[in-house]
């Protein structure tokens, strides 16, 4: 796979700004001001809520979780927030595959309450017909009821952003306008196992901000450059990100598409997706240090070491419940305990 820019538009070595291809416009981006050195020593806070239901007080939960995670609501006033749920390949037969609309609506209400301008956006990785994804997931009805704007990230005009992660050979990424112009990208994943990388949560969910019109359906350009590497690089190259994980009805076994439902009743929130994903792994009784993209992220994008993560809300230990994973050699090292069932 070529390491040349994935377009004839030359990359720019700009660190905080993005150039809209063909428009000549420059949009101000907000990038975290922390240096890599600071990240390496950074602690992070993760909030875990238990006994959550889709018909429950999710707005309160999410608001509490964001504040407990150290997010200052005042910093979001007037900002553009992109809510990015997981709608990779929705099916009415498998609602546990995709982010529940109730989570999206609740998150939108919270961020709107903070004074932010909210858009829901997704670039489904396996379906070109985004309307189908919206219909099958139930998200369209939610958008209509709340008059929430939707950005089809697969087809928008794109902006070139330098790869700040440098784990893969990709020089940069084409981000769709909705992601490039966002001040904050909120990853709203479903808590699932993944048959290639072990786990998919806040960080892997951000594959969905990569436009299919440039990278394919599936987004093979990313796969061919290494899934863990490109997960890491995308997260490193986006503006500020927050994670709100739908861990109420989860997926175990053959995730991220064909797995079975596992009820956990959790919502997990944090301002550092790496730390959130590490906690998600522990809740699944999986070792985050064995998840390849977390191996890359640990100490670089955020902490994955439990000792560096401040737990708010509930402690993860009593809530951990082993998730079934495929009985494949590349996944066995994820299991923290011997003798636990694998499919």
């Amino acid at each position: 796979m070529s390491s040349k820019p994935f377009s004839s538009v030359p990359p720019s070595r700009i660190s905080r700004r993005v150039l809209l291809a063909g428009a000549g416009l420059v949009a101000a981006g907000i990038v975290g001001t922390r240096t890599v050195r600071q990240w390496m020593k950074q602690r992070a806070s993760v909030f875990v809520a238990k006994n959550q239901t889709y018909g429950g007080q999710l707005v309160q939960t999410i608001r509490d979780g964001l504040i407990a995670s150290g997010i200052d609501a005042a910093t979001l006033k007037g900002k553009k927030v992109l809510l990015k749920p997981n709608m990779v390949e929705p099916s009415r037969e498998a609602p546990h595959m995709t982010t529940h609309p109730a989570i999206i609506l609740a998150a939108a209400e919270v961020f709107r309450g903070f004074g932010a301008s909210v858009t829901v956006g997704e670039g489904p990785g396996h379906v070109r017909d985004t309307d189908m994804a919206l219909a099958e997931s139930g998200v369209q009805d939610a958008l209509d009821s709340s008059k929430l704007p939707f950005a089809d990230l697969n087809y928008q005009e794109v902006a070139w952003v330098e790869n700040r992660g440098h784990a893969s050979k990709l020089v940069g990424f084409w981000f769709p306008r909705g992601a490039a112009e966002a001040d904050v990208v909120v990853s709203l994943p479903k808590m699932k196992t993944h048959h290639w990388v072990g786990v998919t949560a806040a960080m892997k969910n951000l594959y969905g901000v990569i436009p299919g019109i440039k990278y394919g359906w599936p987004k093979n350009v990313l796969h061919h450059n290494g899934i863990p590497e490109t997960v890491f690089d995308i997260n490193a190259s986006l503006p500020r990100t927050i994670a709100i994980v739908d861990g109420i009805d989860c997926m175990e076994g053959d995730g991220p598409i064909m797995g079975t439902k596992k009820k956990m009743g959790l919502v997990v929130i944090g301002a550092n997706p790496a730390a959130v994903d590490a906690t998600i792994c522990r809740l699944m009784d999986l070792d985050p240090a064995q998840v390849p993209y977390l191996q890359l992220a640990g100490g670089r994008l955020g902490p994955i070491d439990d000792g560096l993560i401040s737990q708010h809300g509930e402690k993860w230990q009593p809530l951990a419940s082993p998730f079934k994973i495929l009985d494949k050699p590349h996944l066995q090292r994820l299991r923290t305990h011997k003798g636990v069932l694998v499919t």
Binding site: M1, D152, E157, K214
Partner: protein, 284 residues
């Protein structure tokens, strides 16, 4: 059909379109707009669209996704279909250059492993350079080769084999996987419709085409989302299947688009579906 005439009138005044009303023009929607106008006997109105596609064509013959985005080049096939349908003589040079590029590029074959259910060694076309072959780009390029008289070209024949291989055992296909790590995946309407367009008039010893046609007939309904409905209807029509409610469904879908995102791409696609697959398939 008032809804159809309204769409065609709009496309007639502005056939160079994007995926959204305020979006930059893009190759796929513009090609589909041209095809829809041609299919509904408004050929002269398609010329700005077909001309605009020539301005996106690169020296190597490929056509990128948008005016200033020369990569990836998967819509090259759609540009060929539009040029061929409009006037193959007038665009002969563009077509020849594009076909030369199409015949040269290949989806990346991969070593066969037990993890993947489909034959990963077959070569079709990919979405982006250096990546694997998938259903829709392969099907679109097959259509382009067929309409330009290359149905028997070895690349076309191998691609047909690939498309058949990617059909699920119970019918239909998705983006192009069958089973992964031992688990059979689900079919989707849009890629099934597009694949069936490319598989029109093909022989199939394994009965896979018939199964996919049967699956698609059951899958289409008034609830089917617009793009999937359009491609599904086109795919069935290519195999002689016309659903009696299809015209009503297409109209309902068009109204849904107009009330939601008013996407010119989807409206062009629905208009094309209303005409049938003629401009997408070789002359009989």
């Amino acid at each position: 059909m008032g809804w159809l005439e309204n769409i065609l009138d709009t496309l007639s005044t502005k056939p160079v379109i994007g995926y959204a009303p305020d979006a930059a023009p893009a190759t796929e929607p513009t090609a589909l707009a041209a095809l829809a106008l041609i299919a509904h006997d408004r050929q002269p109105k398609a010329k700005p669209a077909t001309d605009s596609l020539t301005s996106i064509q690169s020296p190597d013959g490929s056509v990128g996704v948008r005016q200033k985005e020369l990569e990836p080049q998967w819509p090259t096939s759609l540009a060929v279909l539009a040029w061929q349908a409009y006037d193959k003589q007038a665009y002969a040079t563009n077509i020849d250059r594009a076909v030369s590029w199409i015949l040269e590029v290949k989806g990346k074959a991969m070593e066969q492993t037990s993890d993947m259910g489909h034959n990963t060694t077959l070569v079709g076309w990919s979405w982006a350079d250096g990546t694997h072959s998938w259903i829709e780009p392969t099907a679109f390029h097959v259509l382009a080769l067929k309409v330009t008289g290359r149905s028997e070209h070895p690349r076309t024949r191998e691609a047909i084999t690939l498309l058949l291989d990617r059909q699920l055992p119970s019918g239909g296909c998705n983006y192009g996987n069958t089973s992964v790590l031992g688990q059979m995946l689900r079919p989707h309407v849009q890629p099934t419709g597009i694949a069936l367009l490319a598989l029109a008039k093909e022989q199939d010893q394994g009965n896979r085409i018939a199964k996919s046609v049967a699956w698609l007939r059951k899958a289409l309904s008034k609830e089917t989302t617009p793009a999937s409905l359009a491609w599904g209807a086109l795919g069935l029509a290519a195999h002689g299947v016309t659903l009696p409610d299809a015209p009503e469904w297409l109209e309902t879908a068009a109204k849904r688009v107009q009330s939601h995102d008013n996407s010119p791409h989807k409206l062009a696609l629905l208009a094309l579906a209303a005409a049938g697959p003629r401009p997408l398939t070789p002359d009989p």
